[in-house]
């Protein structure tokens, strides 16, 4: 696989790097973990397999060998050899096919999974690119023009193609990321540092995602919130989805590349099941926060994972059937 032209920020990610946060090594991983896992599930692959995460404008990719791919997440109107192809479907591509993304239709991040998977080494238990440490993924950095990334060759697919350029296989994922603007949170340990007014404002007002929104975090614009204490915190752990109150009353939501520890009040946390919704928001989009309970948050996460697991098993079965029939 070769990058013909690089995009603004395309990296190899998986579901994140566990077990190194005590060294200050942040977990990274896909911003929209649901879509990245969905793209793997549709191909019947392990959910934590490596994928490419694209931002728009995205890279153009030449598949030098045949493969089966799946694109999930944001809709950047993907084409193969200039022919539009759908999201959420497995697509068999012939060798020398070119994948392009033509327009940012909706969302912010798009994921590509490959059946004959990207052939890279793990760094500290994960394939994810850690941009701070310049480690993991492909050479620890975003993909650049002329990069050649090897793929494994476990599955031959030429019998499915039968000389065609591409074949869209009939099955697809039903549940995909929703585009709602109401995102659920649970309260953080410093929630009660907010004044009563501020607590109410937090769930009543709309907040806008500013231009300072990247893989590290989203700064929000909107109603300023005030604390009823001058107390200072010593640094301690923060998490993907933690909402911190900055000294001037503004909010920041920590995203996948967040630092491991911080000292600002943690007033709330976006629930894990809704982080994918947030990961598909862009600067100028508006969101509103809705309170939920920890139990409800965990239930939603478990249900999401159940769906992905079931889909993965079903798709694996269908794909194996197809690969055998084509022999």
């Amino acid at each position: 696989m070769k990058i013909l032209r690089s995009g603004i920020l395309d990296t190899i990610q998986d579901s994140g790097r566990c077990g190194s946060q005590h060294l200050g090594i942040n977990p990274s991983g896909a911003m929209d973990c649901f879509s990245s896992q969905l793209s793997n599930a549709v191909l019947g692959k392990e959910l934590k397999s490596p994928v490419i995460e694209f931002h728009f404008p995205s890279s153009q990719i030449l598949f030098e060998k045949e493969n089966i791919i799946c694109i999930c997440g944001a809709d950047f109107l993907p084409t193969i050899n200039n022919q539009p192809v759908p999201l959420h479907h497995p697509i068999v591509v012939n060798k020398n096919s070119i994948l392009k993304f033509s327009k940012l239709q909706s969302g912010a991040r798009c994921y590509l999974s490959l059946l004959n998977e990207i052939n890279i080494e793990k760094w500290n238990n994960s394939y994810s690119t850690n941009l701070k440490a310049n480690a993991g993924g492909f050479k620890g950095r975003p993909l650049l023009t002329n990069d050649v990334i090897g793929c494994k060759e476990n599955f031959g697919v030429s019998n499915i193609l039968k000389n065609r350029d591409l074949v869209v296989l009939p099955w697809k994922a039903q549940d995909t990321v929703d585009t709602r603007n109401e995102i659920e949170f649970i309260i953080g340990s410093e929630w009660h540092w907010l004044t009563k007014d501020a607590r109410e404002s937090f769930s009543e007002h709309w907040f806008q995602i500013t231009n300072e929104a990247d893989r590290m975090g989203y700064r929000l614009a909107g109603q300023k919130l005030f604390a009823n204490t001058e107390e200072q915190l010593v640094s301690s752990a923060v998490s993907f989805g933690t909402i911190q109150l900055l000294p001037k009353g503004q909010l920041i939501i920590l995203m996948a590349d967040h630092q491991t520890t911080g000292g600002y009040p943690r007033i709330a946390h976006i629930i894990s099941a809704h982080l994918p919704i947030l990961a598909q928001k862009k600067p100028n989009d508006v969101v509103r926060f809705k309170l939920t309970s920890l139990e409800e948050a965990q239930k939603k996460l478990v249900n999401q994972k159940k769906y992905l697991n079931q889909l993965q098993i079903a798709c694996k079965f269908r794909l194996e059937e197809l690969l055998h029939a084509a022999l």
Partner: protein, 238 residues
């Protein structure tokens, strides 16, 4: 009553739990944090995905899917687990701490803020160096960016707040002060600490099995080197 009491536990989002020993920077509290950290780590519990010790808290990240059941929430299950561990008699800790000597060049070329601190504190640059190298510091925690060490406590005479405007890029190896904390930037990074010198040592190397030089609980002593010695170190280590 276990040695760990009193402490509080609260959820850090829906996939982590923080055990908090009080909002403070002191050796005794941090010792408790690290003791519990090792105790939980040594239990090798597969569904705990990350353990992050900080100044006065320990955060445990867990895999909700593995712990979730309809009878109890995953948070309840994990907090019960932690409570049980804190009731166990902790293993005697190995009293031998690592002492790591860190060479620092305090020349103005690298010590971007040292003159300003000297002026503010009414000290000479030599006095600041003498004070900074006189103590053995404890690595309380690592965080912020890969390998960044939070150490302390520096002598009150050289205690200075963070810069009001953080620098967009602080060079790897830069040694800084923030309040009574001192630390070293392991990578080029934006940063707001007051920079008083630079070490030629590499604190982060992704190609090593242990990519980070320090571990929480280490003791660190700085010693002053000249610019020539700094260059020598660099050459020998490259």
């Amino acid at each position: 009553m276990s040695i760990y009491h009193p402490y509080t536990m609260f959820p850090l989002g829906d996939s982590a739990l923080t055990i908090d020993f009080g909002n403070s920077i002191d050796d005794q509290t941090n010792q408790k944090v690290l003791q519990l950290y090792h105790q939980i780590k040594d239990a090798h519990i597969p569904y705990l995905t990350d353990l992050v010790p900080a100044y006065s808290s320990l955060t445990v990240y867990y895999d909700v899917i593995s712990v979730y059941s309809t009878e109890h929430s995953a948070f309840e299950a994990i907090s019960e687990l932690i409570e049980n561990i804190t009731e166990e008699k902790p293993k005697p800790v190995d009293g031998t701490k690592r002492l790591i000597d860190i060479p620092v060049c305090y020349e103005i070329k690298y010590a971007l803020d040292i003159y300003e601190i000297a002026r503010q504190k009414n000290l000479s640059v030599e006095e600041i160096i003498a004070i900074h190298t006189s103590k053995t510091y404890r690595v309380y925690m690592l965080g912020f960016i890969p390998g960044f060490s939070y150490m302390g406590l520096v002598d009150e005479q050289i205690e200075v707040p963070r810069k009001t405007e953080p620098r967009p890029n602080v060079e790897a190896g830069s040694v800084g002060i923030a309040g009574r904390q001192t630390g070293i930037y392991p990578l080029n990074s934006p940063g707001g600490w007051q920079i008083i010198g630079k070490t030629p040592l590499r604190l982060f190397n992704k190609d090593l099995a242990q990519p980070v030089l320090f571990e929480p609980g280490d003791e660190v002593k700085f010693y002053s080197i000249t610019e020539d010695e700094f260059e020598d170190f660099k050459k020998r280590n490259s």
